[in-house]
């Protein structure tokens, strides 16, 4: 069913649902709402399965890097391990400490989860497989992914725990200071594409050599700075100081258990997928690819970038807070802006292909 669905273009589903409901005499607003709700449900299903797959895949990759097997006993190579985790987390008692900040404590995981989902509205999974092709696509994604800072701060403050507070403060400082190089490295791509819409970005990288990563010299530099800033956005090692297990016990999610913790857990993996999806759309030509269906190309490339992020996690130690800030402001920002100027200059002088 999933494969058949994927080959259909999401826009067709929307028009089919709209046409079906239009003649039933419901007011126009309701029809719109229901059809969009249908699209949202499909997207939620796809992403939930994807998040479960990513959690399982990370534990298997970690296992094999560390010369052990990772989950094995639950199904062939433990494929339904994450489903078991999810069922268990469903049953956990919802431990709520009474000294908490009631409203903030409750809504923090929701904000984090919603922020992770909002970014998927204008990510082109395939040819036409895009929920809404906003003409300010990449700008919208950047705006939405910064919601996670608010969620982490709320979690840090709400759980009335010193470790969580430290974790929250650190994450706010980190994500804000890595937002600047990330946006700057994205700008270098936008100069050449001329439009913010994701579909146009993908359209401008039709053939293999027009992929943005091959536009030496600013392409690769932009990709490297983007990936570094992206690992910091997704709170992955070596930038995972908000939930540094060794220092802050469990960082901001120290007081969360059960489904609330599951939301943070899945949001982290979805952030990782979003960040690599953007990397693929910008630098590796989105869903362009010769023989295979478009969405398969996109999924393959994104999983490769996700693999790269996972390799970071299991090989690098963690940076200290001030070194992390120093690295961002003293190294990454100058490099990205220099690269931006270089790209603009080359565009002006016409030395690009």
């Amino acid at each position: 069913m999933l494969l058949a669905l994927m080959s259909l273009e999401l826009v067709h589903i929307f028009r089919w649902a709209y046409g079906l409901l239009a003649d039933t005499g419901l007011p126009a607003l309701w029809v719109l709402l229901i059809s969009y709700a249908l699209l949202g449900a499909i997207m939620f299903g796809v992403l939930a399965v994807l998040a479960l797959f990513l959690v399982w895949w990370e534990r298997k990759i970690a296992g094999h890097i560390q010369q052990r097997f990772g989950p094995m006993r639950n199904g062939w190579h433990g494929w339904y391990q994450t489903i078991a985790d999810a069922i268990k987390l469903l049953q956990k008692e919802d431990v709520t400490i009474d000294a908490r900040d009631r409203f903030i404590f409750f809504w923090a995981p929701v904000v984090c989860f919603v922020a992770a989902f909002l970014a998927y509205i204008c990510i082109p999974f395939g040819n036409g497989l895009i929920v809404a092709d906003l003409n300010i696509g990449i700008l919208y994604i950047m705006a939405v992914t910064t919601f996670t800072i608010i969620a982490l701060l709320m979690a840090g403050w709400g759980s009335n725990n010193k470790y969580a507070l430290l974790g929250g403060m650190r994450s706010a400082a980190q994500v804000v200071s890595y937002e600047v190089p990330m946006v700057a490295s994205i700008l270098t791509v936008i100069i050449y594409v001329g439009s913010l819409s994701m579909v146009d970005i993908v359209a401008s990288q039709q053939s293999f050599f027009t992929w943005f990563i091959f536009r030496v010299p600013f392409g690769p530099i932009a990709f490297l700075t983007y990936i570094t800033a992206a690992t910091a956005e997704a709170n992955r090692v070596p930038f995972d100081i908000p939930e540094a297990e060794q220092e802050l016990v469990a960082g901001f999610n120290v007081e969360y258990s059960g489904m609330k913790f599951a939301m943070f857990f899945l949001a982290e993996f979805l952030n990782m997928f979003t960040v690599s999806a953007i990397a693929v759309t910008l630098f590796f030509g989105g869903w362009n690819g010769p023989w295979l269906p478009s969405w398969l190309w996109f999924l393959g490339k994104t999983l490769l970038v996700v693999l790269l992020l996972m390799l970071f996690r299991w090989t690098y130690p963690r940076l200290r807070v001030d070194q992390l800030m120093e690295f961002a402001w003293k190294f990454l920002v100058p490099v990205t802006f220099g690269n931006l100027i270089l790209a603009a200059l080359m565009k002006y002088l016409g030395w690009y292909w």
């Binding site: 489903i83 078991a84 268990k88 919802d94």
Partner: protein
């Protein structure tokens, strides 16, 4: 969540509800059994064996057991190593902070009955079952990683046989 506890009461009342309850029970027990996240808690020599069991040769992750640093997210506490009188109340506080379906494995002789050496020591708790309710006792000083793994498998068996109704008091 609290909701789960009320489910058996309603399902039994509707006709054929017992079948639903037992199948639901099987699914819930399966979920709990297959993903026991253990707390990073080790006091003495057994903690080194716990580390070796978590390492690459005998691997906890195969059973789906991942270590968690905060007691909130852990649902299994492996009391590895001697619990002294000074550490007793701390162990109790840790146990209270864990979320409800929680289990305890008493690993090593010291946590079972004060161990082979400290029976006449003035500062060692003779066994932790009067501090926290213990599910599985793994004897040995320190127990080999294989026996700890066997203890975990027994715990998974015990979790799978739990009844939802009995589960409410736990």
């Amino acid at each position: 969540m609290g909701l789960i506890k009320k489910v058996p009461v309603y399902t039994e009342s509707i006709p054929g509800g017992a079948l639903v309850a037992t199948s639901l029970e099987a699914v819930l027990n399966f979920g709990r059994a297959k993903s026991l996240w253990y707390l990073l808690f080790g006091t003495a020599c057994c903690a080194i064996e716990l580390m070796c069991t978590g390492a690459s040769r005998y691997d906890f992750d195969r059973l789906g057991m991942m270590f968690r640093a905060s007691p909130r997210q852990a649902d299994l506490i492996i009391a590895a190593g001697t619990i002294t009188k000074k550490m007793g109340p701390r162990l109790r506080k840790l146990y209270d902070q864990m979320a409800e379906p929680r289990y305890v494995i008493a690993m090593g002789g010291c946590t079972i009955k004060g161990g082979p050496f400290y029976y006449d020591s003035y500062s060692v708790e003779k066994g932790i079952d009067h501090i926290v309710p213990v599910d599985i006792y793994v004897p040995g000083c320190p127990p080999r990683p294989e026996s700890l793994l066997e203890g975990c498998l027994h715990l998974q068996e015990k979790v799978r046989r739990q009844k939802l109704s009995e589960w409410q008091e736990k």
